[in-house]
Symmetry: C2
Subunit: 344 residues, 2 copies
Amino acid sequence: MRKQRQKATLVDVAAMAEVDVSTVSRVLRGQSEQRIRAETRERILEAAEKLNYRPNFTARSLRMSRTFTLGIVVPQLDNPVFSAAIRGAENLAAQHGYSLLISHRDLGEAATTIAKLSQMNRVDGLLVASLDADEVLHSDLAEANVPYVLLNRQLSGAPFSVVLDSREAARKATEYLVSLGHRRIGHLGGRLGGFNAAERLAGYRAALDAAGIPFDPALVTMGDYTFGAGRKAVRELVRTDATAIMAATLVSAAGAMAELRLAGWQLPEEMSVIALHDADFAEMLFPALSTVMMPTEEMGRVAADLLIRKLAGGNPEPVRALPPGSLMIRDSTVAPRPGAPRSK
Amino acid sequence: MRKQRQKATLVDVAAMAEVDVSTVSRVLRGQSEQRIRAETRERILEAAEKLNYRPNFTARSLRMSRTFTLGIVVPQLDNPVFSAAIRGAENLAAQHGYSLLISHRDLGEAATTIAKLSQMNRVDGLLVASLDADEVLHSDLAEANVPYVLLNRQLSGAPFSVVLDSREAARKATEYLVSLGHRRIGHLGGRLGGFNAAERLAGYRAALDAAGIPFDPALVTMGDYTFGAGRKAVRELVRTDATAIMAATLVSAAGAMAELRLAGWQLPEEMSVIALHDADFAEMLFPALSTVMMPTEEMGRVAADLLIRKLAGGNPEPVRALPPGSLMIRDSTVAPRPGAPRSK
DNA sequence: TTGAAAGCGCTACCAC
DNA sequence: GTGGTAGCGCTTTCAA
């Protein structure tokens, strides 16, 4: 395989095929198939092949004022939720000839990224996931120069977003705990005011209501979604008579279980734990963590689809909530022990 | 804050400042600072500000035949090793005015990506991490149209790469186990023939040699780096009299621990486990996993630095091996029990 | 069915 | 110091 040294341009192909560049362009883009004589097309294709012609992406972008690139900004990369969403978005984008420019920025830095990507004409549209507060995100998005769709949250003033149905997921998880016989169920939630945190709390309460179990604020703790927060929050729960925990994320559930073990609790006998979202990681914990699967990859796919539709001038449905997937029952959830709950 | 509707171009700025576009370009690029009259510069800056001028990235790229973008291709995103490398690379790249185009492709798909990114002039250079076999990667890279540097492995014919010193890391981990009193130490390695797998095995043997412990092939198992492979491999180790395991990755260590527990082993009393690479994840396992930190973020940074230097026409040192970081002693490593080793 | 030509927005060279 | 201008490689009218 000889390596092509000089990059061939349309002009080179045109010269070799003895036609005009415009004709080459037409043939190579596959447009207006009918309006080119077969023999000419043949000659052009052959020349392009021989010269190993590759279109210059930059030139095309400049001419068409489109980059065929979607930006996706996420708070972190090493988070199964976001990496799955990226995967989904990328697959769908590829199907439509778009590629994805991934940008991961910590809190507060999203602004720069959003502004940069869109204002420098690097992307035609933006998929944005953010953990920032509403006001911050709001002003960041004001800088956006291109259409965008929000991932995993809603925001007033941002018409397009794709979210997971956290409420239903929380309800489902809690309901399962109830079905096991638990009646004192703690909730490890997200930070107060967060979109998903409120949704999950609502689902939790709905399941309780349905079972005729009174809601007890003492059983609800709020924190961020970190391991440390999970540990800290569980220290409060431990002072109650809770026999089970419904955690917002895998990581906070892991924190809770670690802290419980450190305090000498037997898992899952003395405390059942279930978490929202599923990933390989759940299986690696001890005991292997029961979860509710969430369609995170589909979230990315749907969001990209929405954005591309919008870019094409369509008028897509603005908000979508994706229902949770199956319960993944592993080893961290059992019926409560018949005797009195452990007290500390 | 009024939103700029029409994108302002150099021409607009020039018109408003009543100068030529070339002058505007000079001023705005900050070049040849001296050769512009202060008053003119002032006027231009003011106009640019008023018009909210943003350079068109695409146009600049086309004109300069440079994208100021580095591509990084990794096998997966939700892998702390790669996401840390990405972070490091991105930071360094940003310092030099480059951005990063992240591409994550599964085995075998890397070819497409490498070819696409480089041949379509989307990137000036490539950082590539791959789990593919040597021959595959080799032919993929042959398609590359731009300079590249390999991440986390070496490959004959690929002059530039940045790797972690896996050998030294494995030696260090094994040495620690020896210092605890273990003499029958198993190794959960990577697939035979892999660059890092060989390095780690060498480090493992070096530590054994140094301690005067004979090498026993029965204590060495090879697999990929997955949870399942860790579980499977440990079933062989369990038939030996090993009292400790040195695992290549966090995930395979997690698999080993899970399998051991399922078989009723007490951890860490009956089996110590240490793994290479460190991440939050290690702390979430039970028992919390002891590790050797690896400078994965620095690997990304150094690789990007190397690439940018090369792009600038420099002649950087071709291969770098980054020494391991500290031992992170957690709860999975203890001295072997005084009595006879558990036999199955 | 094909060709000619006008730019997309920018940088860099050459004048003055 | 500043202006004029060519052209990066491509798409897309408009003519022929």
